[in-house]
Each structure stands twice: as structure tokens, then as C-alpha cells.
């Protein structure tokens, strides 16, 4: 299953790309309108990019009134990402969306790099959301949590149905000439290829800790990258930064993933789920102590 990563596609300006996904995830919606951060908002860096969009969104009222009806018409399963600054914000958003038809899942963004999210906050947020909705809840975790497995366990204990792993890391880029931050807000969220091993380790730890369904993401650019996340424990894969360079990535990566899985003897890519946790299929030959003979 191939999704987009939240904030990396607008289904209303690029409906064709959205339709090439197995589900579309919205940009994070907050209780009130957010104008977003002042420009400059993005910068390319070594092996990735920084963004500081500032969760620009119309707020839940206008989202429900304007965007949601049009998103339903796309005919793609819809996931709505929600974010706030206190557990009560999440409860308000989820209660509101619980009553809306045509939403397949809610993603709790508890990991925007500009908002602190200690483990106990994650648990409190998931509990508050769980209390007000029966819709499937995915909790999106930060790769910079001191112990991502502990955050995953906390979310599981509070009743999350799945995990989205990972959000961006905090990063900084300085202008070549002035040595001042390129991004106006200073630091930004670091995404793209550099995130791959970080995401893989986080998915691996979360799968081991919880066994929950996981949407794996972070730097995926090819079918092989997607297969790695599945082998580490992901049950779906989301594409973010790669969509900026290649809007046709969902179809391409889906085909590459099937081929990469088949080449390794898996009938279906998901048959490879979690294999990274199993003992190596071909163990090393035994080693023994044996006396050396000199000529």
C-alpha cells in the first residue's frame, strides 16, 4: 500500500497524483487557521531538504466546509492528519471528524519538529483522541524521540490502531555567502534520503515493540527503499520528498516494489513484512578450533 506523506501533496491541485495512491493523507489540519511561516520556507541540503511551512492550513471549520467535500469526490480513501498544541485540540479535531463520512483514518501528528512531544504527551493525546472516535487512529512519531519504541508503546497502550513512522528531524542550513539561516524561521524539518536509515531503525524498533500496523516513511525514492521498510516491519509505505521531483513516483515505486519482492521470492511485497527481525535464512557455516599444520 502506497500513500503520500502528510504535507507532501495537495490532492486538490494534483488530483491525478492523488488517484495514483492507495490512500491520500491530508496536510495536518489544526483547530484554527494558520497562515504558516514567512518565506523562505525551504532549502535543499546535502542528502535532503529542510522545510518550515508552519502547518499552513485553513483550520478545521473551513477544511470541513471547503476541502473535505471535494476530497471525497476524488474516490481515493482519505486519511486526515490532525495537529494541535494540547491534548484537548486533538480531542476537538477528532470528535469533529468522527461525524464526517468518507474518512478512512485519522493521523495524529504529535511530532511536528517545532512542537515538543514527550512520551507522556503522546499517551495523553492518543487517549484523548481515542475517547472521541471509533475511526482508525494512526499516531505519527518523531525520529528524534529519545526512545521511539517507548513512544510507540505509549501510543499502543492509549489505544492507537497504527503508527506512522517517521516525521522529519530538526535541521539547519546556512547561506553560503551570509552564513545566516536560509530558512526564515531558522531551523526546519529535515526530510529526504538522509532520513532513510533513521526511518528504518525507527520502524524496526516500533514493530518489535508493538507489532502494530505501521506506515513507514522517510527518504523513500525506490521500490528497494520501500521493501526495506516493509522488511523492518512496515505494513504500508508513504512517499514525501520524492514526490517533489517525481509526481509519478507512486506508480513507479509500486511496480519496483513488486519486482524487488518477487526477485527475493516473495509472492507479495507484504509477505516480506518483518523478515528483518528473523534469523538469517542462510546461517553462516559452523566454525571450529582446529590445530594448524606447518609444512
Amino acid at each position: 500500500m502506497i500513500l503520500n506523506a502528510s504535507g507532501c501533496l495537495d490532492a486538490l491541485t494534483a488530483p491525478g497524483v492523488a488517484r495514483s495512491l492507495d490512500a491520500f493523507v491530508t496536510k495536518t489540519v489544526t483547530p484554527l487557521l494558520r497562515a504558516g511561516n514567512p518565506p523562505t520556507r525551504i532549502a535543499e541540503t546535502d542528502a535532503g531538504m529542510l522545510n518550515s511551512i508552519g502547518l499552513q492550513n485553513p483550520g478545521i471549520d473551513r477544511f470541513c466546509a471547503d476541502a473535505l467535500p471535494r476530497l471525497r469526490e476524488l474516490g481515493v480513501p482519505l486519511w486526515v492528519s490532525v495537529g494541535g498544541f494540547a491534548a484537548a485540540d486533538y480531542a476537538e479535531l477528532c470528535a469533529r471528524l468522527d461525524g464526517e463520512p468518507g474518512i478512512a483514518a485519522l493521523e495524529l501528528n504529535v511530532s511536528c519538529p517545532n512542537v515538543a512531544s514527550p512520551v507522556d504527551a503522546t499517551e495523553e493525546i492518543v487517549r484523548a483522541a481515542r475517547a472521541v472516535t471509533a475511526k482508525p487512529l494512526y499516531t505519527k512519531l518523531s525520529p528524534s524521540a529519545p526512545d521511539v519504541a517507548a513512544a510507540a508503546e505509549a501510543a499502543a497502550a492509549a489505544g492507537t490502531d497504527g503508527l506512522s513512522v517517521v516525521n522529519t528531524l530538526r535541521g539547519l542550513a546556512l547561506d553560503e555567502r551570509t552564513l545566516r539561516p536560509v530558512v526564515a524561521s531558522g531551523t526546519g524539518g529535515y526530510s529526504g534520503p538522509a532520513l532513510r536509515p533513521v526511518a528504518l531503525a525507527a520502524v524496526f524498533a516500533c514493530h518489535r515493540a508493538t507489532g502494530l500496523p505501521i506506515v513507514g516513511m522517510g527518504g523513500v525514492e525506490s521500490g528497494r527503499h520501500a521493501l526495506d521498510l516493509i522488511a523492518a516491519g512496515a505494513s504500508a509505505v508513504a512517499l514525501g520528498t520524492v514526490l517533489f521531483r517525481d509526481p509519478s513516483a507512486p506508480g513507479r515505486i509500486r511496480a519496483e516494489l513488486a519486482a524487488e519482492a518477487a526477485a527475493r521470492g516473495f509472492a507479495d511485497p507484504l509477505a516480506a513484512r518483518g523478515v528483518a527481525h528473523e534469523e538469517s535464512a542462510a546461517p553462516l557455516p559452523p566454525s571450529t578450533k582446529t590445530p594448524a599444520k606447518t609444512p
Partner: protein
């Protein structure tokens, strides 16, 4: 330098629209205005100022390049007494614009005589070099279509309130996906790749007025 790519099914679009070109080895594509619609080819005028544009400039004949477009809106062509105004690399969209208008006078400004060599793409254009600015030669009564650095566009907007201006912003996607290209349009932050890059001078006059009031 002029980068020419085979059309390979790409439409040239309207003058002022842009394409996202993916430099080999870079994470993000780079926005480039269409400069020339040649038979079977598209031409881009590029200034190698950083890693992305340098990687594009280093391409060799036969190398493959991912190109997405045309994107954004273009200049409206139904203007009376059109005058093309360009500054620096901002002259890039003007040759194709001139062609589609069936010829139009052009006024170009450059930082130095060396940079002014690119003016050869617009034969007959009036060229000024710093310390002289295009706005010193701008006469009233024209439908101005301009592209260039931000200070030039703001100065043009002040002198020609009916002008159409092509703006720049850093862009990660060029098709509305990332919200990285937000600029203040009519007083709110909006995506330049969706609303622009060509904006009416009046739409950018609002923040100007606010800045002056502040």
C-alpha cells in the same frame, strides 16, 4: 547559458509559465522559465549560481533530464502597446513572450556589460547597465510585462500599476504540493507556483502599502 532539451511530448505552454528541471544528483528540481520554443526543442536560459543550476549547466548532449511542465500561469497576451521589461536572468521568459506577441519593444537592465550579452536573445532591445536602471527609462502608456529581481519588480509596480509581473520564490515541487513557495499575494501567504508566477502589480501593491505604513 542556453540549455536545449528535446520536446519529447512536452508542450511549450504560455510565455511566463515554467518547468521543473531535475539536476542529476540533486534532491529537488529547479524552476526555469521557458525562454525559447524551438522546433522540436525547448530552450532554457540559465544562470549557474548554485549547485542545482551548475549541475544543469554541466549536462552534456545526450544526457537524460527529468522535466515537468508547463506549470503555473503565464502572461496575458491581450495587452495594448506591450512593453517587455527584464532584469538580469529575468529576461529568460521574454524571447518566447516576444515571439508569441508577434514582436514587442523590450527594455532590459543588467548589472554589467558582460551580463548584458544575454540581450542578444532579444534583437533590437533597449539595454541599460547599472548604475542606470530600467525604471529610469520606463515611459507611461505601455502594457508592461516584466520579469526580474524583486526590487526591480517592486519599482516597476509602483510606476506601472497595470503591469503583469513574473516573480520568483524558492520552489520544491512547482505543482502545489509542498507550500514551500508561499509569498504574500493580496495580503495573505499563497503558493506562487499555483497563483503565479505572473501576478498583477495590484496584487503585490497591498503588502507594499502595509510595509510603508509600518
Amino acid at each position: 547559458m542556453l540549455l536545449r532539451v528535446s520536446r519529447a511530448g512536452l508542450e511549450p505552454g504560455e510565455p511566463g509559465q515554467f518547468f521543473m528541471l531535475s539536476p542529476p544528483g540533486r534532491v529537488l528540481p529547479r524552476p526555469m522559465s521557458l525562454c525559447l520554443a524551438l522546433p522540436g526543442e525547448l530552450g532554457f536560459l540559465l544562470d549557474p549560481i548554485g549547485p542545482g543550476t551548475r549541475a544543469l549547466a554541466a549536462l552534456e548532449t545526450g544526457d537524460e533530464l527529468d522535466v515537468l511542465g508547463p506549470l503555473g500561469n503565464g502572461f496575458r497576451l491581450d495587452v495594448e502597446r506591450p512593453l517587455l521589461v527584464g532584469g538580469g536572468i529575468g529576461i529568460a521568459p521574454l524571447p518566447y513572450l516576444a515571439e508569441r506577441l508577434g514582436g514587442a519593444p523590450a527594455l532590459l537592465g543588467f548589472r554589467s556589460a558582460e551580463h548584458a550579452e544575454a540581450a542578444a536573445l532579444l534583437p533590437g532591445a533597449e539595454v541599460v547597465v547599472e548604475p542606470e536602471y530600467v525604471t529610469e527609462r520606463l515611459e507611461p502608456g505601455h502594457g508592461v510585462l516584466a520579469c526580474g529581481p524583486e526590487p526591480m519588480l517592486r519599482a516597476v509596480a509602483a510606476l506601472a500599476p497595470g503591469a503583469q509581473l513574473a516573480w520568483e520564490a524558492p520552489m520544491a515541487c512547482g505543482y502545489g504540493a509542498c507550500y514551500g513557495c508561499a509569498v504574500e499575494i493580496g495580503g495573505t501567504l499563497r503558493r506562487l507556483c499555483v497563483e503565479g508566477p505572473v501576478l498583477a502589480a495590484a496584487d503585490v501593491a497591498a503588502p507594499l502599502a502595509r510595509e510603508e505604513a509600518a
